[in-house]
């Protein structure tokens, strides 16, 4: 049992560090720290293009489609360094969510057309799963796709679509048959956002920002070649993708970075002459979280190591999602507590400098938006149902 790095691993780590230090410059960091506005899209795309140029854009993909071919250890090193450098993860919808479905279940034409554009970040994807009437009960969806001629005619409404306002494509679960049981009769469609009849309506979330949207479909024509796999079998493809998605939700490297920033700030925040980092009670609040994170890091490594031989992750991946999101929320909450009365200000026309605590506004918005983490991607209640059934056999 060891997580020793070989000489090659250490050399790889140095290469990653060097690359991040050189390419992820202060300007990029600044643009990406605000998670909305026009800047964000161009900033993250320009960063992803750099990663693509380096060949590092898709560590999770099979090598034949453009993956890195890294070992589990190399992936761990890469993620650890990315988190430590404060670099955001790639936008997942294309690279981590639809791409595995395309390269696993898609036709050769679909692979040839879509995968390169995902790798190069030329296409921005969004996810059309949730519907107003179907939240955690994903399969209760009612958006329909009627087959007529060589097209599907899509009608319905998707909701909670993150960054739909930037998207070129949306991958959707749609109902192609009403005769069958709920999970059957669902198909997996790729839809061009430019198609007539597609409209995007913004949703302002409780952090006061616009990341979420509704996407409406009114008689939208989708060519047959945009169907993934077989008609009515979409649920199978989506399910495989969900387990994949969950393994990415532990976000250990990002939580480590947040926690390390939190500790720095706790050393600077002073209450009655004592830095918060030296307060025994605050220390307990910190270590309650840090210890869970230390354990989760190894839980994730254990899952990755067991996947190293190949194959999709099992239902244990739900554990990573549950624990990862709970830890992220706990850090956000503690950050808000640390920000004290300074954390309530909406920025408006005030700069962070004027408020005197430059992380306080961020603490507020991260806390508020962070509440979504236990809701999306299959709520944590659903994840517990999954473990109860599939792991414990209850």
């Amino acid at each position: 049992m060891d997580i020793n790095f070989s000489a090659e691993d250490l050399a790889f780590r140095d290469e990653v560090r060097d690359f991040f230090a050189r390419e992820f410059d202060a300007e990029l960091a600044q643009q990406l720290s605000a998670t909305q506005g026009g800047d964000y899209k161009s900033a993250i795309v320009s960063w992803q293009k750099k990663l693509h140029a380096k060949g590092w854009i898709a560590p999770g993909w099979p090598k034949e489609y453009g993956g890195t071919g890294w070992t589990v250890t190399q992936k761990f090193i890469y993620e650890t360094e990315r988190g430590a450098a404060g670099i955001p993860d790639v936008v997942p919808f294309g690279l981590k969510m639809v791409a595995p479905v395309i390269y696993t279940f898609g036709t050769e034409e679909q692979k040839a057309h879509f995968l390169p554009r995902i790798l190069s970040s030329d296409d921005w994807w969004c996810q059309g799963y949730s519907e107003p009437g179907a939240g955690s009960d994903l399969a209760a969806l009612s958006t329909t796709a009627e087959y007529a001629g060589d097209n599907y005619i899509v009608n319905g409404r998707k909701i909670w679509t993150t960054f739909a306002q930037y998207a070129d494509w949306i991958f959707c679960l749609v109902r192609t048959s009403k005769e069958m049981r709920k999970q059957q009769g669902i198909s997996f469609l790729l839809i061009d956002m430019e198609t007539p009849g597609v409209t995007v309506k913004p949703i302002v979330s409780i952090d006061g920002k616009h990341s979420l949207n509704e996407v409406h479909f009114e008689d939208v024509l989708v060519p047959r070649e945009n169907l993934i796999g077989e008609q009515d079998k979409g649920w199978t493809y989506a399910k495989a993708l969900l387990a994949h998605e969950r393994t990415g939700m532990a976000e250990v490297a990002d939580s480590k970075r947040m926690l390390s920033k939190l500790k720095q700030r706790a050393a600077e925040e002073v209450n009655g002459g004592t830095a918060m980092i030296n307060d025994p009670v605050f220390q307990m609040r910190l270590s309650d979280i840090e210890m869970e994170l230390m354990a989760l890091e190894y839980t994730e490594l254990r899952v990755f190591a067991s996947m190293a031989g190949g194959g999709m992750p099992g239902p244990e991946s739900s554990l990573l999602k549950i624990k990862g999101t709970e830890i992220t929320q706990a850090i956000q909450e503690l950050q808000l507590q640390l920000a004290a009365e300074y954390g309530g200000a909406l920025q408006g026309d005030l700069s962070n400098q004027e408020l005197g605590h430059d992380y306080a506004a961020e603490a507020r918005s991260k806390y508020m938006y962070g509440r979504a983490a236990t809701i999306y991607g299959g709520s944590n209640e659903v994840q517990r149902n999954v473990i109860a059934k599939a792991v414990l056999g209850l």
């Binding site: 955690s136 004290a340 009365e341 938006y369």
Partner: protein
């Protein structure tokens, strides 16, 4: 032993409840918080007309002569509508400090104008470095020409932008953390040298950064003896904490009620989500948390009344309950707020629904005048040090 409200209290409670129900829906509130001043002057005048602004003030100044319990009655109902008008900052905090001051001419001059709604006030105490320690004051008051000159910056001054007057903490002697040497001055917002920048806060209210740049004040503007401001603050703080806690209780019971109702109608997996045992037990836990919080508030109120009746016996039990109350608010507020969003799911994340706004006010109350850990430690200091 009784836990009933008096007839007068029931009347004012019903009056506030009626206002919130009939006049203050989430869209009305949204318009107000996005308006230029961020409060409704019209509603404020209504509050004055209905007598709500007079509650804590002595009858000799035209007040209702109310108790901490009376304030709590008003605040719980205001909480149910997350009313953003500056009741806590003007009436409870600014007004409370003024009412407890020994400067009678200041009281005579200002209290009636609070009661009639013409004077909004705010307590300017927080500084960039001070966090929860109110005595941590670097703003200075230096004696000059038979008065004092105030220099310094106050931050997150609640509803500072609409305040006509401030009560300001300034250091007239001593070192940064000393309780001795903090003085309280009443300063006109229009006074020379006062400037501010106002902004919205997460709870829909407003706050301001206020600069005091060579602001001249006289002895007449001192609320009590020079350098003894902390005594006055310590005396008034419990009632501010009770008021905020009562508001929080109103928010919590509302969040719970909305969530339980929603769970009965929202369908998932072919059945209302309220039929899932896991969610039922969690709603039971939020119900219990709310009832326990209410009990802690009532404990505080009973002991406030006891202290008012027997001031010589000291306020140790009252203080103990108040710190416990504020710490409880932090815990149950976090539980209830987070569960309300979680049980609503995606819709709970939207700005459009009322849920998030209630939660944001709860989070703000949590960190106002000390968060849960801060007050629990105060509780510990009072009770455990051997």
């Amino acid at each position: 032993m009784n836990f009933d409200f008096s007839e007068e209290q029931t009347m004012i409670k019903d009056s506030v409840a009626r206002f919130v129900r009939d006049e203050y829906d989430i869209d009305t509130r949204r318009k107000i918080i996005n308006s230029e001043e961020g409060i409704s002057r019209e509603f404020w005048n209504t509050f004055a007309e209905l007598g709500w602004l007079s509650v804590p003030f002595a009858e000799e100044y035209g007040g209702f002569g109310g108790t901490v319990e009376d304030i709590a009655v008003v605040m719980e109902e205001l909480g149910k509508g997350i009313v953003v008008e500056p009741y806590v900052s003007t009436v409870v905090t600014f007004g409370g400090l003024l009412a407890a001051s020994t400067n009678n001419s200041l009281k005579e001059a200002v209290i009636p104008s609070i009661i009639d709604g013409s004077c909004l006030g705010s307590f300017a105490f927080l500084e960039r470095q001070s966090r929860y320690e109110i005595a941590d004051v670097v703003t200075t008051a230096v004696a000059a020409d038979g008065g004092y000159v105030i220099n310094g910056e106050k931050t997150v001054v609640v509803h500072g932008g609409t305040a006509n007057k401030f009560i300001v903490t300034a250091r007239s002697s001593g070192e940064q953390f000393d309780a001795e040497g903090v003085s309280l001055f009443m300063v006109d917002a229009a006074a020379e040298g006062v400037s501010l920048k106002s902004y919205q806060t997460m709870d829909g209210q407003r706050a301001a950064t206020v600069q005091f740049d060579n602001v001249r004040v006289t002895d007449d503007q001192l609320l009590n003896s020079l350098g003894q401001g902390m005594q006055l603050i310590d005396h008034v703080m419990p009632q501010i904490l009770v008021a905020l806690s009562a508001e929080a209780l109103g928010i919590m019971s509302t969040l719970n009620a909305i969530t339980v109702d929603y769970s009965k109608t929202r369908q998932q997996f072919g059945t209302p989500i309220g039929s899932f045992q896991v969610l039922q037990h969690r709603m039971v836990d939020t119900f219990i948390a709310c009832e326990q919080t209410k009990s802690m508030l009532y404990r505080g109120l009973c002991q406030a009344n006891e202290y008012a009746a027997n001031p010589d016996a000291g306020n140790a039990e009252f203080l103990k309950s108040v710190h416990a109350l504020k710490a409880t608010i932090a815990k149950s507020g976090k539980l209830i707020g987070e569960e309300a969003i979680q049980l609503h799911g995606g819709i709970g994340m939207t700005d459009e629904l009322n849920i998030g706004h209630f939660v944001k006010r709860l989070m703000t109350i949590n960190v106002s005048f000390g968060n849960g850990d801060f007050h629990q430690k105060k509780f510990n200091q009072l009770n455990y040090s051997a």
